[in-house]
Symmetry: C2
Subunit: 172 residues, 2 copies
Amino acid sequence: MTNQMKIISDKIVLNKNSHYIWAKSKSRMFSKACEYGIRATLYIAQKSLNGQRASLKAITHEIDSPEAFTAKILQQLAKAQVVRSVKGPHGGFEIAREDIDSMRLSEIVNAIDGDNIYKGCGLGLKACNAQKPCPVHHKFTAIRNDLKTMLQETRLLELATSLETGLTFLKR
Amino acid sequence: MTNQMKIISDKIVLNKNSHYIWAKSKSRMFSKACEYGIRATLYIAQKSLNGQRASLKAITHEIDSPEAFTAKILQQLAKAQVVRSVKGPHGGFEIAREDIDSMRLSEIVNAIDGDNIYKGCGLGLKACNAQKPCPVHHKFTAIRNDLKTMLQETRLLELATSLETGLTFLKR
DNA sequence: TCAATAAAAGATATAAAGGTCTTAATATCT
DNA sequence: AGATATTAAGACCTTTATATCTTTTATTGA
C-alpha cells in the first residue's frame, strides 16, 4: 500500500488518478429494489389491516428509503398486482384483506427480481442441470430449494402481523 | 404496450427514445466475478493435481470466461493466496497439493465477494439482529447458516475430483 | 544479455443497478 | 369547472459491476 493510494472506506480504494481499483461486490440475496419492495409491501399490508392507505411519503419515511426510487418500485408492484394504487387526495397504496391472507413472499420477490435466485446455477452456467451438473450443483440444490420453499410458504399476513405486534422492525 | 416500444428480449424493454425501462435484476448468489473465480480455481486445482500449471489462456478457454476480466480476478485470488501465480515461460497458476486438501469453497468466495451473503440482513437493514429482527430475520437465519456451513465444509479437493472423474462440468 | 513468454498493474470503456427530476394523468373536494 | 393531492410515466443522472486495452515487470532459455 503506497502513499499514492487513498482508502475511501474498508471496501473502496482509489489509486493516484482517482481510479477505482477493487472493492468486494456487496452480494446480497435480493437487489436493493427488491429489499425496498418487500419492506414497502409489508408496511402497506400493516396499514391495510388497519383500514388505512399508505401514501408514498409515509412509506418512504417509515421504511427509510429513497422516495423517487421507491415510487418506481411501487409502480412495478402495482403492475404485478402485488399492491393496488389509488391516485388523488386520500390516495395511496393498499392491499385487499384477502390478498394479505393469501399472498406469499415469493410473489413480491418474483415481481422485482424474478426467480433466478432459486432457479439459476450457483456458478452461472446456462446448461447446468442434474444430468450435466456443475461441481457445486448438488450442494446448491438443497439450499436453493429451502429458499424457494421458504419464500413460497411465508405469508404476507404473518410478516405484517409480527410488525403490528412490535416483534419485528422495518427500519435501520 | 404501444408500438413505440421495442422488446429486446423477454427481460429488456426500450421506449421510443431507446431508454431502458425495466428489467428484473438478475439476482444471483455470487457476483459474476466470483462465479468465474470459483470456476477458474477449480480448473487450476484439477491441473495442479496432475502436476501441471494452468495458463490464463487455458483457463479462459476451459471455463469459457472473458480473458482480461478473468486475469483481474486471478490477481485477486493470488493476493488472497487462494492460488499462486508464476510469471514467464511455462508460468501460469497453481495451487499447492496441501492447499487443495485443506481449502474450502468459503475461502474463494470470501476473497471475491466477502461474507455479506451469509452475514447481511435479507432486507438490507443495518441493525437487524435477533434482538431487533426484521420481519424475515428468523426465516433467513436458517438458510443463511446452511449456506455458510456448506461453503465452509466443501473442500476444493472434493470439487476438483468430481471434475477429474467427469462427474461435473465447468462449461456452458 | 537478449528475445520470448506470461502475469501484474494501470487506464479506460461499457453495461447494469440505483437513484432523481420533471411533466402528465387521475381522483377529490369545493 | 378549478384547485389540490396523489400516483404514473418518461427522461436523465450517478455509482458499481463487468470488461477491455496498453504498458510494465518477472522469468526462462538460447
